[in-house]
């Protein structure tokens, strides 16, 4: 792998950019790998990357049904934060956020991490109490957040109307070191680093079966033939239930559509991320100037990557009241992704009933922020059979009633 640097840019500028390598190599499957990761989204690629970097396991294939980063990694609203209430959540999301801070340097790939600050608005008394509690919990967990009043909110976000009749802003939970990153670049950066370690990234290759012998995984069947492995990581978000079905067990997961939309690009008007959980809308401005808006999920099972129109309508209607200037904007694009919702809205990073099969799923509506931490924990689990970060996120917690009761995506009331 040729390193990206200012010297490389200067060198290539002098020779018409003819010398750039492909970021990752095209690969055909070998008959056998030490480990296979199914799913070349952010979480899958990060899992493979840390298997190599932290545990020295590089005979790894990452298998992808479609194209790299084409699922939820390319469909989210790119928000990174770690202001959770429960200790296990705070630990893994804060690990993730801190890894994001140096990820561009670690991967030698500019993921455009922008620690611009994330603000979660409190628009009801219930939310004020909830966020004060979260701020105290975060102080104990070592996560830097604070509860700020409406004047400070207005100072940080001049375009906000704090005196709305229906949704007044009573304060906010403010995490100054949270922010956004370029979502595609996260997948591309990990893919490039995996490829440089000699891993195979095999796209357009769908897994159709999971081979087992005596309760232990021996490989996968794919549209490009059978591939053997000792360890299998299933990291496929919305399709986790299908892969679990192939391995002969069920997951506490339901797949539903979550939507987002962007406006036409406008001049810089808001340099923080604002989440309004009472009305279920998130807002940030991309580097291109588009206002990026995320909404709520549909309530019914769906695999079509299209959501219901009325959710978009409800999100925008509520956001326009809090941000009156949005009412003049045209919306450019709207899309949906299929998210995997667990019973307690917290993720699963776990061993499974099949020896050698591990799952990383259930990130629901908030997976992007967790990519580095999730990959870190998943790799440790696959390499060593246990990971302190993943311990509480076992799929068997549902049997024991050890829920991590956290509405992960938005911290909304539950």
């Amino acid at each position: 792998m040729k390193r990206y640097s200012v010297f490389a840019v200067a060198r290539e500028a002098l020779r018409n950019h003819q010398g750039w390598d492909r970021a990752w190599a095209k690969a055909d499957p070998k008959p056998r790998y030490d480990a296979i990761v199914v799913g070349a989204g952010g979480h899958g690629l990060a899992s493979a990357y840390y298997l190599g970097r932290n545990h020295g396991i590089t005979n790894v294939a990452v298998i992808e049904k479609g194209w790299l980063g084409g699922g939820n990694t390319g469909r989210n609203t790119t928000i990174i934060r770690s202001n959770y209430l429960q200790d296990p959540s705070a630990a893994i999301y804060e690990k993730s956020r801190s890894l994001y801070e140096t990820l561009s340097q670690d991967l030698n790939y500019n993921i455009m991490f922008s620690p611009r600050g994330v603000m979660m608005l409190a628009q009801t008394q219930h939310e004020v109490r909830g966020y004060l509690r979260t701020a105290h919990a975060n102080a104990l967990q070592g996560v830097a957040t604070e509860f700020i009043g409406p004047e400070r909110v207005k100072e940080l976000v001049p375009i906000i109307d704090t005196n709305g009749p229906r949704y007044p802003v009573l304060g906010a939970l403010w995490q100054p070191r949270a922010g956004t990153a370029r979502h595609d670049a996260v997948a591309w950066g990990y893919a490039r680093a995996c490829s440089a370690m000699g891993m195979d990234i095999i796209q357009n290759c769908e897994v159709t079966g999971i081979r087992r012998e005596g309760g232990k995984v021996t490989g996968v069947e794919t549209t490009k033939g059978a591939i053997g492995c000792d360890r299998l990581g299933i990291v496929v978000a919305g399709h986790s239930s299908q892969l679990a079905d192939m391995a002969g067990f069920r997951l506490p997961i339901e797949s539903v559509a979550l939507q987002a939309l962007v406006s036409e690009p406008i001049k810089p008007c808001m340099d923080v991320v604002v989440m309004a959980n009472t009305v279920h809308g998130y807002l940030s401005q991309s580097d291109k100037g588009e206002m990026v808006i995320g909404g709520g999920t549909d309530g019914f099972n769906n695999y079509t990557q299209r959501g219901s129109w009325h959710h978009i309508e409800e999100t925008v209607r509520a956001l326009v009241e809090t941000f009156p200037m949005l009412s003049r904007l045209k919306m450019l694009r709207q899309w949906g992704g299929i998210v995997d919702m667990t019973g307690d809205r917290s993720p699963i990073i776990s061993k499974t009933p099949v020896e050698g099969v591990f799952v990383n799923c259930g990130w629901g509506t908030g997976g992007f922020k967790a990519i580095p931490g999730s990959g870190w924990a998943m790799a440790e689990l696959m390499a060593k059979g246990a990971s302190p970060l993943a311990e509480e996120f076992s799929m068997f917690r549902f049997r024991e009633g050890k829920f991590i009761d956290e509405s992960v995506a938005a911290g909304v009331a539950h």
């Binding site: 069920r250 997951l251 079509t304």
Partner: protein
């Protein structure tokens, strides 16, 4: 927009009138049952990509619960039927078989 016909009042209701209620025909396990059975009842959903039987409530209409057969991969609705059934009725199953010859069939 998803439109389901409520079998209780006959109204072809739009999605905004309806409240989704998750997978249908679950066998309930309570106190005294095994941990496995209770966990499966509470959490382990089939979550199929394809034919799905589910509960709905005509929340902003007659208020009654009913069941629907729907495809989660295409959003096609095969039909709706009374909630007072233990398994999908024969005419619904026939309709699904006609449209999805590969469908493995309903199992509890």
């Amino acid at each position: 927009m998803l439109i389901l016909t409520c079998p209780c009042c006959g109204v072809a209701a739009e999605e905004t009138e309806l409240q989704p209620g998750g997978e249908a025909h679950l066998k309930r396990f309570g106190p005294g049952s095994s941990d496995d059975a209770f966990e499966a009842y509470m959490f382990a959903r089939a979550n199929p990509k394809g034919v799905h039987f589910e509960r709905w409530r005509h929340a902003y209409g007659c208020g009654k619960w009913f069941l629907a057969a729907r495809c989660t991969a295409t959003l096609e609705v095969f039909g709706t039927y009374s909630a007072q059934t233990k398994e999908p009725p024969a005419e619904i199953v026939t309709k699904i078989r006609a449209k999805r010859p590969d469908w493995a069939g309903w199992s509890a």
